[in-house]
Amino acid sequence: MKRPSLGAILLGLIPFTASCFSVALWDRVYPMVLGLPFNLFWLILWLLLTPLCLWGAYRLEEPADRDPRSQQGGAR
């Protein structure tokens, strides 16, 4: 098991910045989006975008099944 790459860590920091550290910027009702208050809309958006960031990190961390041990548990 190797250390995570810098790229993967940076991708992991994006959701932390977006849905935690920046709270003062997005915690408001207006503009309402799709009928939702802006803060609720923003957090729901990050429920959808976090998997994208982690998928990117996954591609960086598990490039091409080069570790034979991890294949037995198997993607395909």
Partner: protein
């Protein structure tokens, strides 16, 4: 049949089917300690997902999210905020935790500390703190079960007998089929919960307001401050949100049962892929919030916010439907309670009882002690839930601030060669003391900061200082732990080169 009868029949049926699945799950599997605690380490993506979702989306999410939306407004968003972040953390820490677990056949969280820090005393301390922190969590599930039985029976059933019956069932299927039973009961419970959340979350705002948008518009008109922080509360503002989300995100996988669930995976990759998709399961949480927010205008003045979801369903839909929602809620509480019992019992038997009282015990005897502990812990939790009433939430907060203090030990253990056993031990002891002090003296939040995060800072600081003051540890690990991986030639090749 009257409506209470209809609702209760359906709840009982759901619970009965769920329990039957739990009992049947042991088929074709010999129940030794390895199979009972970690399912033989053979769970693929789907079972790990179901087990983790089953453990994570608890009564607290189901009843508590709508309850907080109702009573506290904007601050409830913290539940949505930390959800995805804990999976980000799990993406990085669970695969190496799994790897170490596979190499050394680890079954509990305390085993990790035992192997990484080579200290039985530290492991026993982690086990003790873990079991103590699990008890209030267990009580919450029980109280949830009691609330459901009370509302669904229109007050005909008392909380206490309902809790005792449900808990006897939980203890029985944990006793018989271990973690595999829990994973399969999760299948039923998740199907019901997702169905219930989607239907209720869209239907209730539609019935009373003509849609989700109009519902929020009406709420903003009636209570302009309800939807932002601090909402109707005074001390749950942005600093509180930031520190609480951070603590919950970092600390969530430090709960002994979530930590140990990673050992059930068949590979570290399963855990990574699970972390990628799990945040999507959180999409059911906003639906629970819609119900709580609707209830602010439709059912003002409820004595207990946690009742808002059940009360809205009871007011809006026929009794059989209340039965389905109640059944989903009851199974949710039972699945969570089951895994907590399993974890607590194994921790006690393996990391406290054996090393301190009976060093010569075989694994079979440990399994026997663990099963007896399932019965002891479940009776204990029932008694506590019956006799202690008011401070459940504060106990839970104490529990999560407590388990978060394992975080430095786990992260430094995985990513630092230099960290010493004394450093981690001292940091943990200081962190737990600070958390206890702040919470017991009612200083949470302290100047707007979550008390657990303050304790965590003390913890990291102490661990760092004591580590620097103690001699460099003798290196014993090779490629299982990331901190030691750089010495392996194969890992020095960059991924791009391949």
């Amino acid at each position: 049949m009257n409506s209470a009868g209809a609702a209760l029949t359906i709840i009982s049926l759901t619970v009965a089917i769920g329990s039957l699945v739990g009992f049947l799950a042991r088929y074709h599997h010999k129940m030794d300690l390895e199979q009972w605690t970690v399912g033989g380490r053979g769970f693929g993506l789907v079972l790990v997902w179901l087990l983790m979702a089953g453990e994570i989306y608890t009564t607290y999410t189901f009843l508590g999210a709508s309850g907080w939306a109702y009573s506290r407004g904007g601050p409830v968003l913290y539940i949505l905020g930390y959800g995805p972040l804990m999976y980000v953390v799990s993406f990085f820490i669970l695969p190496p935790v799994w790897e170490l677990g596979r190499r050394h056949k680890l079954q509990t969280q305390a085993d990790f500390f035992q192997v990484r820090y080579d200290s039985t005393v530290l492991a026993a301390f982690v086990a003790l703190v873990g079991v103590v922190c699990l008890i209030p969590y267990l009580e919450i599930q029980l109280t949830g079960l009691g609330l459901i039985a009370e509302v669904a029976s229109f007050g005909a059933i008392q909380r206490t007998p309902a809790m005792i019956i449900a808990f006897a069932l939980v203890a029985a299927f944990v006793f018989v089929s271990g973690v595999r039973g829990v994973a399969w009961v999760s299948v039923i419970k998740d199907l019901l919960l997702v169905f219930a959340a989607i239907f209720v979350g869209f239907a209730i705002p539609h019935i009373y307001f003509g849609g989700i948008g109009p519902m929020f518009a009406a709420l903003v008109r009636a209570k302009p401050n309800h939807l932002t922080m601090p909402g109707p509360t005074q001390d749950l503002g942005h600093t509180w949100y930031l520190t609480t989300v951070l603590l919950a995100g970092l600390g969530f996988y430090m709960w002994p049962h979530f930590f140990a669930a990673s050992y059930t995976a068949q590979s570290g990759k399963v855990l990574r892929r699970n972390a990628v998709i799990m945040p999507l399961y959180g999409l059911t949480v906003p639906l629970m919030l819609f119900v709580g927010f609707s209830a602010v205008l439709v059912l003002p003045g409820l004595s207990n916010g946690d009742l808002s979801l059940l009360a809205m369903v009871r007011k809006t839909f026929p009794a059989w439907f209340l039965g389905i929602i109640g059944g989903a809620g009851a199974l949710t509480a039972m699945v969570t309670a089951a895994i907590q019992l399993l974890t607590g019992a194994t921790l006690y038997a393996k990391n406290l009882f054996r090393p301190l009282l009976a060093p010569g015990m075989s694994d079979e005897e440990v399994a026997r002690v663990a099963r007896i502990m399932v019965l002891v812990l479940s009776s204990g939790a029932v008694l506590l839930a019956i006799y202690s009433s008011l401070s459940l939430v504060s106990l839970w907060l104490l529990g999560s601030a407590g388990v978060a203090q394992f975080f430095p030990g786990v992260v430094l253990g995985l990513f630092s060669r230099r960290v010493t056993t004394s450093g981690v031990f001292a940091g943990m002891a200081v962190g737990i003391s600070v958390a206890l002090f702040l919470m017991l003296t009612h200083r949470d939040p302290y100047h707007g900061l979550n008390a657990g995060i303050i304790a965590l800072c003390f913890n990291f600081f102490t661990a760092g200082v004591v580590t620097v003051l103690t001699p460099r540890p003798v290196v014993r690990f090779h490629d299982t732990i990331p901190a030691f991986a750089a010495s392996q030639p194969e890992d020095q090749a960059s991924p791009e080169a391949l």
